[in-house]
């Protein structure tokens, strides 16, 4: 089990690097676009769409990385004031509900991706980018996010990690 958890963590970590890379690329392209458009008076074809989809992909691919570092913001008021056992139950409910959501989105986005691929859908711009390329990030991101949730739940059940990262001794 440790191997599985470790592997998932490695993958999520790699996702973070990919997401940061996409973000950096988007920043550079925005600047390039501004220079082209306002300083050289040239028209831009692919930049706007590239930037939009780079940010979208960065979000979906980066999601497992953010989960790994407990970065998806929550309201931990109730968990803070309950006993360790209740806390564990709350954490499990929350993680399971999240897992269900991620799996469902992953499933339906895979379907959506398949439609876009089979139908040869393209974006409605001059660039006419095949839509499946940016769409790819959604099922990939949500699947990896589901894996990270499974790893988290395993850690919770086996006591490898305290729920919400709160010290059990802190409980009232």
């Amino acid at each position: 089990m440790d191997t599985f958890i470790l592997l998932v963590r490695r993958v999520s970590q790699a996702c973070g690097i990919a997401a940061a890379g996409l973000l950096a690329a988007a920043t550079v392209v925005v600047c390039q676009m501004v220079v082209m458009r306002y300083f050289l008076g040239a028209s831009t074809v692919w930049q706007t769409e590239f930037v939009i989809y780079a940010i979208v992909a960065s979000t979906f691919i980066g999601a497992p990385y953010v989960l790994l570092h407990k970065g998806h913001v929550n309201v931990d008021l109730v968990p803070l004031y309950v006993k360790h056992r209740t806390r564990l139950v709350l954490a499990l409910i929350g993680s399971l509900a999240s897992l269900v959501f991620c799996l469902v989105v992953a499933w339906f986005s895979a379907e959506y991706l398949h439609e876009a691929w089979a139908g040869g859908w393209r974006t409605e711009t001059v660039w006419a980018l095949p839509l499946w390329i940016p769409l790819l990030s959604l099922p990939i991101g949500m699947s990896l996010l589901s894996l990270q949730y499974i790893a988290d739940i395993l850690c919770l059940i086996t006591g490898r990690e305290a729920p919400f990262g709160m010290d059990p001794e802190d409980a009232e």
């Binding site: 950096a24 988007a26 925005v30 676009m33 980066g62 309201v75 008021l77 929350g94 959604l138």
Partner: protein, 440 residues
């Protein structure tokens, strides 16, 4: 079940689920999913991937990670410290210049970072010890910075304004401009209050003996002026209609990056990596909430909940100011528990039609809403800024910080009252520079 009853059930389930401490993004997503399946069957989920994806695939939203990057760059550099030092050296002869320097630095830093906790941390690290060393009481020193930090989401660029603009399809450039004068007004109110209290408690402004030479005053400028130039540049580009917020943000982020590399010599890979790591976390977290709340509001409107709420409230035919008061009360309470971005995304699509049909300006309302969110940042139980201050000034107890921050809550309420009597404070600047708003 009538749409209103469904709405009540949705509210209940959402509160319970988010109460378990699950992530807000996936909590909202799960509620959306559950209610869609429950009321419209499993087939209704076919559109969900498209909604989830489409919710964040917009060029306007690109400005969000870009401004977050800009804020992360500035926050990771000692720019906050320098800003504070510069203002202190230039203002120390002015009575109460120290306090003004702190709160002024807060508002300028807010203009660079767009984030409240970041503003708090950047200015507070240097400002709080310095104020206390020079005799400002601990509660006042910490409270004023906690409150000053909240300006981060009001003074442009502001993350919450971008989110509001996207959620309500209003102009982000205009929203930014609407926040400028109210932000300055609140800063002035904060300064006046802090000075008044310090004076009443017998703190003498003349006690400040430190003197700075012109040399000292001038040497700090080259490190501060370029950043100020970027702020002015961004505002110019926005209101001049030269570029979109996303373009301004991208170039602003790049310029800030270049600046910190040149001025603070932050060219080591680990430092740059750290900046991008933080940006990715913040950006992904917010964008995920946006994508999920797209599903949430789709679910609400396809079950006619949004429409039913708006119709019911319109049918009540209550006084518009009473209505505004109630909305404010609701926002205040919500703001005490949920982060601003989540509140705006969940409520703005419902509230905006109600507010505009009652004859309020959507840009004015954005400012009122943001001030409500600011209050939530310095009130218990989850006032983020209080905890940030507690982190940087660990020897000041949380109740002391809270006591110091509470008067500022009242000042913000006062600010909202002033804005209600003189809405031009918010709408004047955008109207003047961009012409009267159209559309709404």
């Amino acid at each position: 079940m009538s749409p209103l009853e469904i709405g009540l059930l949705i509210a209940l389930v959402t509160i319970v689920l988010l109460g378990t401490g699950m992530s807000i993004a996936f909590g909202l997503g799960f509620v959306a999913l559950a209610f869609l399946v429950g009321f419209q069957g499993i087939d209704s989920l076919g559109i969900m991937a498209e909604k989830f994806f489409g919710g964040i695939a917009s060029f306007a939203l690109v400005s969000l990670p870009m401004f977050i990057l800009m804020g992360a760059v500035v926050a990771s550099s000692p720019a906050g410290r320098d800003l504070y030092i510069a203002l202190d050296r230039w203002l120390h002869r002015v009575p109460g210049g120290l306090v003004a320097a702190n709160l002024g630095a807060c508002s300028i830093f807010a203009a660079l970072s767009g984030s409240s906790p970041a503003t708090c941390a950047a200015i507070g690290k240097m400002g709080i010890p310095e104020m206390r060393k020079r005799g400002v009481p601990a509660d006042l020193a910490t409270g004023s910075i906690a409150a000053g930090g909240t300006l981060g989401i009001l003074i442009p660029p502001s993350i919450t304004m971008i989110v509001y603009g996207v959620a309500t399809e209003t102009s982000i450039g205009r929203l930014f401009l609407a926040g400028v004068v109210p932000g300055i007004m609140l800063t002035a109110l904060f300064i006046a209050w802090t000075l008044f209290i310090a004076w009443r408690r017998g703190w003498h402004f003349s006690d400040v003996t430190q003197n700075f030479t012109w040399r000292e005053r001038l040497e700090v400028l080259p490190r501060v002026l370029p950043l100020l130039a970027i702020i002015v540049g961004i505002l110019y580009v926005l209101y001049g209609g030269v570029a979109t917020p996303s373009e301004a943000a991208g170039v602003g982020a790049m310029l800030c990056l270049v600046l910190v590399v040149v001025i603070y010599r932050m060219w080591h890979a680990p430092q740059i990596m750290q900046i991008f790591r933080e940006t990715t976390r913040e950006s992904v977290m917010i964008m995920m909430i946006i994508a999920a709340s797209e599903l949430f509001s789709y679910m609400m409107s396809s079950l006619y909940v949004t429409q039913a709420i708006a119709e019911t409230i319109a049918a009540l035919d209550i006084n518009r100011w009473l209505l505004m008061g109630l909305i404010n009360l609701f926002l205040l309470v919500a703001g005490m528990f949920l982060p601003p971005v989540a509140i705006i995304l969940m409520t703005a699509p419902i509230l905006l039609p109600i507010v505009t049909s009652a004859g309020f300006d959507p840009y004015w309302f954005a400012v009122i809403l943001t001030i409500n969110m600011e209050i939530g940042l310095i009130t218990p139980p989850v006032g983020l800024n209080l905890f940030v201050i507690n982190g940087i000034a660990p020897d000041v107890k949380l109740p002391t910080i809270l006591k110091g921050a509470l008067p500022f809550v009242l000042l913000m309420v006062l600010g909202m009252v002033i804005l209600s009597f003189f809405p031009g404070i918010a709408t004047g600047l955008p109207d003047m520079l961009l012409g009267p708003a159209t559309g709404h």
